[in-house]
């Protein structure tokens, strides 16, 4: 069957068809339909995103550090996630600096884990970077955290030391308002 030109005769059922007109109609219909389909699918996907209520409930929180004794870990909740606020001991700080980082899964110097001038405060999202379980405090040979699900182990600075977790415990956005108060978020 010829395309483009007007065909006289042609295949059965297609006699006297203006092929140029047909082509225009096919392309115009397909293009309009495609735009419409994309337009219809977008809201269906978009509604899956976190809604305004959820986002509003995820506003920043302030945490008072004063009650956390040295060696203690406090759990607070921000955006439905547990945040571990750990008051590191002098021993943990020293070990965090001296431990060789070459063999680490996600090597990070101690300075990347805490804020400058606040060496004793570690603030991390308490969610294992493997599949999202909450690691148990001070379990495992490294004295940081151990994930009960698949056995990942973290050191006191929240650095992953044994897999399967691929990355260190994430650090949420936070800032020191003064020496004993932080704002997370």
């Amino acid at each position: 069957m010829a395309t483009g030109a007007v065909t006289a005769g042609g295949a059965e059922g297609h006699e006297g068809v203006d092929q140029g007109k047909r082509d225009f109609l096919y392309i115009a219909t397909a293009a309009m339909g495609a735009v419409g389909a994309v337009g219809a699918v977008l809201p269906l996907i978009n509604e899956l995103a976190p809604d305004a209520q959820t986002i509003a409930a995820g506003a920043p929180i302030e945490v008072d550090l004063a009650p956390i004794a040295e060696g203690q870990i406090m759990h607070v909740v921000w955006r439905s996630k547990p945040i571990f606020v750990r008051h590191l001991t002098a021993k943990e700080i020293a070990e965090g600096k001296s431990v060789p980082r070459d063999a680490m899964i996600d090597p990070a110097p101690e300075t990347a884990r805490v804020k400058a001038g606040h060496d004793q405060w570690l603030v991390v999202i308490g969610i294992c970077t493997h599949l999202g379980c909450i690691p148990l405090d001070k379990e495992g040979p490294f004295g940081g955290w151990k994930c009960p699900c698949h056995g990942s182990q973290y050191d006191p600075l929240g650095r992953v030391r044994r897999g399967p977790a691929p990355a260190n415990l994430a650090i949420p956005p936070y800032a020191f308002l003064n020496d004993t108060k932080i704002r997370i978020g």
Partner: protein, 428 residues
């Protein structure tokens, strides 16, 4: 294989109806006159059992949905309400929760029967692929259903499985946020899982219709794995297959009911009777038993070159199902049934043992010893499909196939002339 319908409507109404919608002819040719190989054994009753379980799960699910509340602060209590307050609620819930287990048990038997008797081979490749699609949909449905009671295992199972998608490079975290509808698993997640858990069984029913359609085009495989050659090789679906299926189904249902009435919680996890707590992971997270082999594969992977362990685990786990889908093209032997494949038959059982072993490893806590065994078994599972299956077809000498299905059942009495039979065990 289904051929022309021999259905003849008798009453005036049936004639009037048949002329307008030939439903009677379709049912008659598919489920009454349909010729089934006369050597089918009880392994072939699981297709019917699975159809029954799908309908049963939909029925119990629909009535449970009338009493359940998909809201994160009320879901757990509404399930307890079903258990204590709703008349017969305890029975319907136990039927539904144990029904999932028995659905999977039947699905796995059905799948391994296909692997043993070569049911995936030409001309049944599409039939097999549709089966793999049904298995995947079944897994998705079961996983989302397990989240609904909003116990500790519901919540943490949902967390672990949705986090699988964060392993995808670059867009992974966005996908996970869209799955959750929040910053973690929460009420929006529960709502959408409930919606999908209600939808997916009907999608499964649609794919099952395609599965049965494809089955009726290619015809059933049979324990001898040879094609039907004459009407002597077959018996009518009704009463022979119907009664055999019904008997198999009732035996299956007796075992199912024993679980429902005597040990309804033995297949579940007691932690799921604790309300979901987003701030405390249970000491030992395990999925339901039917996911354990896949869970073991997920946990087995180490870092592989530039692929982190997490992504490697996810790829390997989904790959384990993909391998099933590829079986029709990985198996190079032209002989279908393992009955006539002395080597494949042994490796088949090794695969069964390896799969059960993976299930055992999946139920255990993570220790270096178990991880090592898990890695060996995962490697063997892959080896079976990627190396052993293709290789066996080339090196194995199959036993002589019977000339016909009727000969294999009835002995030589009704044997056809040897020349009339093909000999697919001879290569080339």
């Amino acid at each position: 294989m289904s051929g022309q319908s021999t259905y003849v409507p008798k009453s005036a109404f049936a004639k009037w109806f048949e002329a307008r919608l030939p439903l009677g002819g379709l049912i008659h040719s598919s489920f009454i006159a349909y010729p089934t190989p006369r050597n089918l054994n009880y392994m072939w009753t699981f297709g019917g059992i699975l159809s029954f379980m799908l309908v049963a799960q939909i029925l119990t699910g629909i009535v449970l949905a009338m009493h359940y509340t998909p809201e994160s602060t009320m879901a757990f209590n509404s399930v307890e309400h079903i258990m204590r307050d709703v008349p017969s609620g305890w029975l319907l819930r136990y039927l539904h929760s144990n029904g999932a287990s028995f659905f999977f048990a039947a699905a796995y038997i059905h799948t391994f029967r296909g692997l043993y008797y070569g049911s995936y081979k030409a001309p049944r490749e599409l039939l097999w692929l549709l089966g793999v699609v049904i298995l995947l949909l079944l897994m998705a449905t079961a996983f989302m259903g397990y989240v609904l009671p909003w116990g500790q295992m519901s919540f943490w199972g949902a967390t672990v499985i949705t986090n699988l998608f964060s392993a995808i490079p670059i867009i992974g975290n966005t996908i996970v946020a869209y799955l959750w509808g929040g910053y973690a698993v929460g009420n929006p997640t529960l709502n959408r899982f409930y919606s999908l858990h209600y939808l997916l069984p009907f999608v499964i029913a649609g794919v099952v219709a395609l599965h049965v359609w494809a089955l009726h085009v290619a015809g059933q495989n049979n324990p001898a794995g040879i094609d039907v050659k004459s009407s002597k090789d077959t018996v009518a679906f009704t009463p022979y297959a119907t009664v055999k299926d019904a008997f198999g189904l009732l035996v299956f249902l007796i075992v199912y009911c024993w679980f429902v009435f005597y040990v309804p919680n033995i297949l579940g996890d007691s932690d799921n009777y604790i309300t979901a707590n987003p701030l405390q992971t249970p000491a030992h997270i395990v999925p339901e038993w039917y996911f354990l082999p896949f869970y073991a594969i997920l946990r087995a992977m180490p870092d592989i070159f530039f692929i982190p362990a997490k992504l490697a685990g996810v790829i390997t786990m989904f790959g384990a199902i993909l391998l099933l889908a590829l079986a029709p093209w990985l198996d190079t032997s032209r002989v279908r049934s393992a009955k006539f494949r002395p080597l494949y038959r042994q490796f088949f059982w090794v695969l069964v043992i390896a799969s059960l072993g993976l299930g055992y490893i999946g139920s255990k806590e993570v220790t270096p010893g178990y991880t090592t065994v898990g890695r060996i078994l995962t490697a063997y599972y892959y080896l079976h499909f990627l190396v052993i299956m293709p290789l066996l077809g080339l090196i194995e000498t199959p036993k002589k196939l019977p000339n016909s299905i009727s000969e294999s059942v009835l002995g030589g009495a009704t044997a056809m002339p040897a020349a009339a039979a093909a000999a697919p065990e001879r290569k080339g």
